[in-house]
Amino acid sequence: MPVDVDAVVLSNTQLSHDYNTVTLAAPRLADQAGPGQFVMVKATSGDDPLLRRPFSVFEILRDDEGRTTGISLLNKRVGVTTRALYALRVGDHVRCLGPLGQPFSLAAPPERAWMVAGGVGLAAFATLATSLRARQVDTTLFYGGRRADDLFSLEIFDALGVHLRLSTDDGSRGDHGNVTVPLRAAFASTDRATPVRVYACGPTPMMRAVTELAASEGRATDVSLEQVMGCGLGGCYSCVVPVRGPAGTHFVRSCLDGPIFDGGSVVWEQLGE
């Protein structure tokens, strides 16, 4: 059951000029959070900005005895709320409502898991990787950024035993080009009989490209979509995703039935940017 916590900021690590991770004391929320679920965040008081913003739960924090203590958020400075999150100080408060949405459905051995992340889309995958590795799934992270210093938090995935396949637009780290370059190479070197589950989170054009590339290899992709949301609880019907159904396109609320969708059923042309 979702809770609304007034979480205290424990740390704010600025990873670059645009990106940071914030850790928040929120044990009641962390207790319940499943892989790929999100929280609705209000980082400022007052009526402007008015609405909360959805953020993936990045990490579940634990103390030395393994008890859950809170969550972290991976943030990219873009708008008003993300600027406020970037500038948080230890001891500040952030309201977090969650966990919300449906979690990822997990691959199981011998199936392999390929997580494909672009930019801040990485945020959906730390919890997923933890769950997958707990069940011994062979897991690879394909992660693309503009430059080498856009690739963050690799140590989290490294520590879990996740294989890393990196790419940068300028070639400064990993493959030269976008994240479909190492993904395409991985498909080329993998027998079609090998079961692989593809997960994608990042910019919409990237998720569409990954879905189409995977489909051409006969693989389905679970995409984690980041629609603009009003409430996160199914009340407003703002965050709908156009999904192909038997009677034509149907608009599905991503806060309740998502944010994870079968990429093959998404009507990408109608999704917007």
Binding site: D4, L51, Q227, C231, L233, G235, V240, F251
Partner: protein
């Protein structure tokens, strides 16, 4: 001192004056796990047509200063599925259900009302003659006095349930629409629906909403909504009013009540804080105690304009 929060709005009895606004609370059940639905004064469910509708493609909302624009396009499951699937669990949870209905024609409104009149657990019918985001129906009727009269009187003929037309602010003189609704048989009116508005992405030179236009809600519209409730109260003192428009706190609700609203609807605030209901009730009760007013009903329309008028 114990205070009485209950209100009567044209025959609609509510335990407290706080109603979830239509379009902002789904069918109510979405919130059933986190909010005790029986503690709300009422729930105005998402607007229903006769048939299922898909609504507009995204983008459906955009935030603006202290407000938001929406153009959802009344996505919905249709009245029959609502009666079959949603009403029974709403009844079980003790919710006071106000069904918001919309039609493309006068006949469609009447047909939906007929179905609801036969259903168990409908406390009132709210007539959506004010949605600005659909090509046929909604504001098309509510922005003409004749259209308002036609819809209200047609529905009045087929139902004895409390009938509450929801008025649009996108007219020159909203009070004349309240009078027209009353004369056609309305038991109360609710106002205001959203203000027709627009936001543009200057980089792409495209509208920010797929529907180009949308409806503005939130604290940004509150002072205009309060003024309109005041005008309706002046023009039709005998007609109960449900006020709404950017109510975030009990104090905001009090403005509407003092201006003449017997009850209020809360929409956008619920997006920001789904637990807002307890705070609203507590804040209102505290106010009544502090001012030694025994009931909400005793506070309705108690605006003192003597100073304002002589200033």
């Amino acid at each position: 001192m114990s205070v009485d929060l209950s209100v009567d709005v044209g025959g609609l009895r509510l335990a407290n004056p706080f109603i979830a606004a239509s379009g902002c609370f789904g069918y109510g059940l979405e919130y059933g796990d986190i909010v005790d639905l029986s503690t709300l004064g009422g729930i105005a469910v998402k607007g229903l047509f006769l048939e299922e509708r898909e609504g507009h493609p995204p983008a459906r909302i955009v935030e603006t200063p202290s407000g938001m624009l929406n153009a959802i396009g009344l996505q919905g499951i249709g009245v029959r599925r609502f009666v079959a699937d949603k009403l029974p669990p709403l009844r079980e949870r003790g919710a006071v259900v106000i069904v918001n209905i919309c039609g493309s024609t006068v006949e469609e409104y009447a047909e939906i009302a007929r179905i609801l009149d036969d259903a168990d657990g409908v406390a009132a019918i709210e007539l959506n003659i004010s949605c600005p985001n659909i090509s046929k129906g909604g504001m098309m009727f509510g922005s003409s006095l004749q259209g308002t009269h036609d819809v209200v009187s047609a529905v009045r003929r087929v139902t004895s349930r409390p009938l509450i037309p929801k008025l649009t602010p996108n007219v020159t003189d909203v009070a004349s629409f309240a009078v027209a609704a009353r004369d056609a048989g309305a038991d109360a009116v609710s106002l205001v629906n959203t203000f027709l508005a627009m936001a543009i992405d200057v980089e792409t030179r495209r509208p920010k909403l797929s529907n180009v236009l949308g409806g503005l809600s939130g604290p940004a519209i509150r002072p205009i909504a309060v003024r309109m409730v005041h005008e309706c109260r002046q023009a039709a003192t005998d007609l109960p009013i449900i006020g709404m428009g950017g109510i975030m706190t009990a104090e905001d609700a009090l403005e509407f009540i003092i201006a003449g609203a017997s009850a209020v609807q809360v929409g956008t605030a619920n997006f920001v804080d789904p637990f807002v209901w307890d705070k609203l009730r507590d804040g209102l009760a505290d106010y009544l105690v502090r001012h030694a007013v025994p009931s909400v009903a005793a506070l309705v329309g108690t605006l003192d304009t003597t100073r304002g008028r002589t200033a």
